[in-house]
Symmetry: D5
Subunit: 92 residues, 10 copies
Amino acid sequence: MLYHVRMDVRVPHDVEAATFDRLKAAEKARAEELQRSGTWRHLWRIAGEYANVSIFDVADHDELHAILSGLPLFPFMQIAVTPLARHPSAIA
Amino acid sequence: MLYHVRMDVRVPHDVEAATFDRLKAAEKARAEELQRSGTWRHLWRIAGEYANVSIFDVADHDELHAILSGLPLFPFMQIAVTPLARHPSAIA
Amino acid sequence: MLYHVRMDVRVPHDVEAATFDRLKAAEKARAEELQRSGTWRHLWRIAGEYANVSIFDVADHDELHAILSGLPLFPFMQIAVTPLARHPSAIA
Amino acid sequence: MLYHVRMDVRVPHDVEAATFDRLKAAEKARAEELQRSGTWRHLWRIAGEYANVSIFDVADHDELHAILSGLPLFPFMQIAVTPLARHPSAIA
Amino acid sequence: MLYHVRMDVRVPHDVEAATFDRLKAAEKARAEELQRSGTWRHLWRIAGEYANVSIFDVADHDELHAILSGLPLFPFMQIAVTPLARHPSAIA
Amino acid sequence: MLYHVRMDVRVPHDVEAATFDRLKAAEKARAEELQRSGTWRHLWRIAGEYANVSIFDVADHDELHAILSGLPLFPFMQIAVTPLARHPSAIA
Amino acid sequence: MLYHVRMDVRVPHDVEAATFDRLKAAEKARAEELQRSGTWRHLWRIAGEYANVSIFDVADHDELHAILSGLPLFPFMQIAVTPLARHPSAIA
Amino acid sequence: MLYHVRMDVRVPHDVEAATFDRLKAAEKARAEELQRSGTWRHLWRIAGEYANVSIFDVADHDELHAILSGLPLFPFMQIAVTPLARHPSAIA
Amino acid sequence: MLYHVRMDVRVPHDVEAATFDRLKAAEKARAEELQRSGTWRHLWRIAGEYANVSIFDVADHDELHAILSGLPLFPFMQIAVTPLARHPSAIA
Amino acid sequence: MLYHVRMDVRVPHDVEAATFDRLKAAEKARAEELQRSGTWRHLWRIAGEYANVSIFDVADHDELHAILSGLPLFPFMQIAVTPLARHPSAIA
């Protein structure tokens, strides 16, 4: 099942740079891993913002939540989840 | 270039049913045509709402606007466009 | 899977009373049918508003959308869908 | 009487980890206790967010406020309360 | 139990004047009746707006909803209900 | 003259507990004093939130502002003031 | 006492032109009368919008409401009232 | 002086097509005239929306309001005006 | 030319009291100076809030920005500027 | 292609003055460089706010994002990007 997820990352300026770099590296590795597994289907950067739009393909809400809440940057994210159904005019 | 487009359709109840059916049919045909051409890359229904999230792949803003403003249901749509850049963690 | 759905009903005053009554009766029958099937798990009235909070238990987004968009009052509804995951502190 | 309660938890990053863990453990214990007593009827995680939707069954507003304001994580919560009445189409 | 209720009245200009006058008269009569019974405890006009803030004293959510949804102007109202608990610093 | 005042209290977590307790005690004493004088006519807790709805009866805006801006917790409050006029259907 | 009042005028396109012209003329006459009496102290047009910011000097909320709700265009206005107190740095 | 103006055009569906076409033609002619005079410095279409962002260069607020409120489509526009000052880093 | 300016002052609690007092004193002195020069025409306190509504009379946007951005409390202010044109019904 | 970009700068008060000055100087230098290259076509200060409206002329979303996310003050900015298409009434 497909979920549209918007993630806005807001990291306070007084978070130590080393901590932030470590989190970003872990986030990148995890994102790549999930993309390779087909779970994280699409990952796009919203131009001009520290935010992304993603499409996840997972079995259910629980799996989605486990993935999102397990992301290294989750504590600094504002997330909006929108369930996507099949569109009657979609040809794919 | 990729554009994220959310379309919310709001058709007043006093629009004649025949007119509305004609517009919906024309919208469906146009959507299918644009998907076959690769322009309308993704078309998902937002579950529970008369709205969709779409990803368009077009050359520039002018082409996007021509397509969207030319959609049969455009006069009854609220549209939000978000330009999508390449995400540094995207593997595709 | 569980979905939290808020439905706000807004019927313009110039909708014919007979049409509105017919829609309300059909809506009530459909709601009762879906509750008996276990799909529409909870249906609560938001005190003071022509709105409800409901919990649906369906297989996936497509099934949810088919149900909601098929409701007789759907054209007059503003709907917000929120996917519900299992809470780590839930004992049920 | 039933109350729909949405709780969004926002814990600043500079809250000491030990304090936060202690609060989370106390919150979990309290939530389980209230569920066993039937007061906290439903507790669902909003997929993708550090937030929950809950249904409380209490005698009145005072009891609800005492419970919510007594939750260990209350100081870090944004709470919205919606009173739920019986829906005319509810069969339960 | 006390409920804080804000009612914003919005009557489209094409509602027949006679209908509107009849509704207003019925609304006034009903409001006076409920005040005499002690149910509608306070009724204040928000200065400059066709809106009021009211305090209702009723047994539960169902009674509140029955009263509000039964008001003659209910179809033209936007209503927000806020449950009021006892304040720890209240001396009354 | 009556003023409807909503006060939302937001105290950052890094305010010293002793300071916060002192402010709360002073706030409580001041609220009780103003209630005894009839100025602070009603003080209700919004169930589930660190917020109140109050009705003040004062001579004019200046007196209201002096009272509110003089409250010990004022620096941590978000306040909304709504002037209340006499409602044509009010019987009191 | 001074009140800051913002008035946004929204007249549906299907209001008869003659009716609208009559209302506008009556509104203008009333505004001029209230300015001459010193009640309507300031009347400014918000550049680019069919809206104004006004400062009223009246005895109390009731008088303000009587004036505003009596304006010919009141049924087509969205009004926001803000009570103004004396500023500690004001020299006038 | 420069003003940033956003215009969102919302024309109800029951406005006669001929009237709407006449207004659009008049709007286009007026826009072209004002651009030639240098008053309407920039006119851009917001991609995907029946809206534009414009930069006006006029003497003062009164002249801006006269121009905007005189536009044929003004009754169907929602307009937001933002005064633009010289930026300290602007080289032009 | 007249500008309507709303200033909301938000000073974090961990700003040193001495710094804050110095800024407030400087702000008061500057406001009085600008009022004496006729630039700061009106300065009203929004009752109940650490905010003011002001009317400035300056030559252009640049002068307004220089004044506002030069205010001692500017770094702690949220400011909204609205250009005011002459109202057709204004008699002054 | 043209992009409308609004940048609101919010720098917490506890950012060291020296750091902030360094960032501002680097931001100014970069802005001037991009203006000279024709990329940053327009840069206007929003009167009264620490914010600007800019028009960028770049090849695509990726280039825009690289520029904006590379700005020295980017971590302290809230940015909104709006793609601009050619307006049918634009004469330039």
